[in-house]
Structures are given as structure tokens and as C-alpha cells.
Amino acid sequence: MDFLQSIDWMQLLRCFVVGGLICIIGQILIDKTKLTSARILVIFVTTGVILGALGIYQYVIDFAGCGATVPLLGFGANLAKGAITEAQNSGLLGAFIGGVKASAGGIAAAVFFGYLASLIAKPKIKKQ
């Protein structure tokens, strides 16, 4: 019960709406442009880096929490944040180390769980 009472329902709603809006942008890009999914991915990450570096994306994260950090924009912002922090601590080289360091957990988890999934899953034909 304590757990349920501690949930901030408005926070969940903000997270859901902002995360959904980011995905809508992606869906519009798929439907209305000829961009391949790989290019859309790169656009999202780079946009995240720029918004993160300018400090704008932090406001979105403060507002929507995981709704902003889980999508690719959040990954980009995290790269920028890590690069800036590390550059401040250890100079120019830190700008190259910091981004990956900050997102190392996510990258390693993606490789690890991706590998696990490939062991137990089999590709299937699309339904449409």
C-alpha cells in the first residue's frame, strides 16, 4: 500500500504524454518522409546531444522523467551531459571519454540483453 500511495500519478501522466509525443514525431517521420529508420535514429540522437549540450533537454527531463530519458533524445542528452562533465574534470580528452562513460550502463545492457534475446527468440514473418 505504501508503494501505491507513494506513486505520483501526475508524474506518470507527464512521462506518458511526453514519451508519446516524441514517438509521434518518429512515426510522422516514418510515414511522411523517405528517411530510413537508421537515419531517424541518428537524427534523434544528434538532436538529443544538441538539446542536452544547450541545457534545454534538462528541463524536459525535470518535467517528464523517464518519458524524456528513455527515448533516443534522452540517450543523446546523456552523451552530451557526460562529455561536458568529464571535460570539466579532466580536460579535452574527457570530452571524448565522458559521453560513453555516462551511457556505458545503457550500451552494455543493450548488448547483453540483445544477445540474451537472440538466444531464445526466432525471427518471424511480419503480419503486414
Binding site: I30, S37, P123, I125
Partner: protein
């Protein structure tokens, strides 16, 4: 055998289409033509580990079934013309490596089936062969990997994209009908490469329609025939988008094909029920629809004069990535019941 006009070959002996055979995948088996196919598979892997192996198995089993149905020994088959969509045509060459039939691997993208029939029928007509097999195959899952994105990526398909048919169609062309009435090939019109600068690999119909038009018009000019001569003019596989474009283009050239024209990519799936977007495509599309449905119609004499035009998009994934346009090609084969 005489060349007439610009591109057409008149086959004096009119080789017989002695027998056909077709195998299709589960999605095609849910389509409106299901009952005309010889065999419908229940899953895309057909017990194999990979889609490529499954495709090889499909063409292998289809050719064996064809030979068994025809009643002639495989040693009496002189040559085999086969192709598919995978790099270096591995479905055909791996699938048919144990047949012991002299083999020509051919590539004309989705036009391969008619390309094979053009070559096969001229072989028979010139007495270079008594019996030849023409076969093609395609597989949705291996073709997506080859030309678009691997299925594991989970990409969404745009509305103009066509659905590669999983299946194989094969025919035996022969200088003898073994005493039974068979449709015959009277003319073939091999097509030219036509490139109108379309670059979208998800819109093959638009890329191939001008090539189909070129071959269609050339065929009529060379033979002196009109569209109304044929009971059916069938392309494969322009899909919904390309079918509409070809109908309009033909009209601007003064040929009205509205009444007797259809496309195999349109026929093989139910657009509303199966959500295949712009229709079917692939080497296996026209091959299975002809070997299954149209051969049956010819045998039952519901259709007596058929013009079969297979269209192909001659690109690969590298040419698309490098921003090249898609050259199209179309080969026409005139198939007629002559004994009535």
C-alpha cells in the same frame, strides 16, 4: 523461328506448355487464388533453419513435383532455366544442384519467369531441346533482407511497398504435347531496359510500368495484334500503383487495355483482408499465379489467348544506397490454345 518487327520472335512450332507446378507460402494460401496452387505451406521455414534454405527447398520440391506430374523422366529434360532474387541466384542453384539437369541460372528480377520462358521456348523451337524447365522462386523473408531491411529490425513498410510472394512456379516447355491438349507459346517479345529515373525501392510498380508499356506497345506493333486480340493481358508484378500507371500510359499511346488487363500482384492477395499494401511482387508472383491459376484457365479454355508480361526492377541494395535510379525491364510471352 523468325524475328519479326523490332524485338519479337515468332515461334513456328509453337512449343507446348506441357505441365506446370506451384508451391506457395502461408500468406498466399490465405489469398483468393489458394485453391489453384499445387501445394500450400504452413510456415515460412518449412522445417529449415533459414529462410534462404526454405526458399531453396521450395524450388527444389516444386521442380521435382513438376517432373513427377508431367509423366516424363527427368533424364528427358534437356535444360533448366531458373532464377530468383537472392545474391548470385543461390535459391535456384542450391535448390537444383542435385537434379542432374543442365542448368542456366538467369536473373531478370521479377521478370525472370518470362525471361526463362522466352529462352526455353526458343530452345525448343530451334530443336536445341525437346523439353526444358523454366522455374523461379522468391521468399518474402529472404527478399526483405536482400532488398530492404532484415525482418529482425522490425521496420514498418510504407503503403506503396509491395509484398514479395513466398513461392515457386515452374513449367515444362516441350516439342510434344504427349497427346493431351496444351496451351502453346506462339510469340515472345524480349524487352529493353527502360529507366525513367524512379529511385524509390519501395515503389517498384512506378519504376517498372514504363518498361511494361514499352514491351506491350512493341509486341502489338511487331505482331500487328490489338489489345482486344487477347482474352487476357497479364503483367506481373506491377501491383496496384503500377497497374494504374500502365493502364493510363497505354491509353495515351492509343491502346485501351482496361477491359482485359490485370496484374498478378493484384490478383494473388486480397487487398482489404490481407493488408499487403500495394500488392504482391517477386519472381514467385507471376510464376505461381501463371502456373497455378492461368494455366488452369487455359486448360479449361476459359482463356484461350493470353499475353503474359513479366516486369522486373533491375536494382540491388548497393545501387539504391548509392542513389541510383531503378532500371525496369519487361518480357512478353504470347500463350494460346491453338487447337480450337
Amino acid at each position: 523461328m523468325t524475328k519479326i518487327g523490332l524485338q519479337t520472335i515468332k515461334l513456328d512450332s509453337a512449343p507446348y506448355i506441357l505441365e506446370t507446378s506451384s508451391i506457395v507460402g502461408p500468406k498466399e494460401a490465405e489469398g483468393p487464388l489458394a485453391k489453384y496452387f499445387d501445394q500450400c505451406l504452413e510456415d515460412e521455414f518449412w522445417g529449415e533453419k533459414t529462410w534462404e534454405k526454405a526458399e531453396s527447398k521450395i524450388i527444389k520440391e516444386n521442380v521435382s513435383a513438376l517432373v513427377a506430374k508431367s509423366g516424363i523422366a527427368s533424364t528427358d529434360i534437356d535444360y533448366c532455366f531458373a532464377g530468383d532474387l537472392l545474391n548470385q541466384c543461390i535459391s535456384s542453384s542450391f535448390g537444383l544442384r542435385e537434379t542432374n539437369i543442365p542448368f542456366f541460372g538467369i536473373f531478370g528480377a521479377c521478370s525472370t519467369f518470362a525471361e526463362g520462358m522466352c529462352l526455353g521456348s526458343t530452345f525448343v523451337d530451334s530443336h536445341a531441346a525437346r523439353n526444358v524447365i523454366c522455374a523461379t522462386s522468391s521468399h518474402f523473408c529472404s527478399a526483405e533482407k536482400q532488398f530492404r531491411f532484415p525482418l529482425e529490425l522490425g521496420n514498418q513498410r510504407p503503403q506503396s511497398a509491395q509484398w514479395t510472394v513466398t513461392g515457386s512456379g515452374a513449367v515444362i516447355l516441350s516439342n510434344s504435347n504427349l497427346g493431351k491438349p496444351c496451351p502453346r507459346i506462339t510469340y515472345v517479345t524480349p524487352g529493353k531496359i527502360v529507366d525513367m529515373g524512379v529511385k524509390d525501392a519501395n515503389n517498384m510498380g512506378a519504376a517498372m510500368a514504363p518498361a511494361a508499356l514499352d514491351t506491350l506497345v512493341t509486341h502489338f506493333k511487331d505482331t500487328g495484334r490489338k489489345p482486344s486480340y487477347y482474352d487476357a493481358i497479364i503483367t506481373g508484378d506491377l501491383g496496384y500503383v503500377g497497374k494504374e500507371i500502365l493502364t493510363e500510359l497505354a491509353e495515351t499511346k492509343g491502346y485501351n487495355i482496361k477491359n482485359n488487363y490485370d496484374d498478378c500482384g493484384v490478383l494473388i492477395f486480397d487487398k482489404e483482408m490481407q493488408d499487403t499494401h500495394s500488392g504482391g511482387s517477386g519472381c514467385g508472383c507471376i510464376a505461381t499465379v501463371f502456373s497455378g491459376y492461368f494455366y488452369q484457365m487455359l486448360k479449361e479454355k476459359k482463356i484461350n489467348k493470353l499475353l503474359l508480361i513479366a516486369t522486373g526492377a533491375l536494382m540491388n541494395s548497393t545501387s539504391s544506397q548509392q542513389g541510383e535510379s531503378i532500371p525496369g525491364i519487361a518480357h512478353a510471352v504470347a500463350i494460346e490454345n491453338l487447337d480450337n
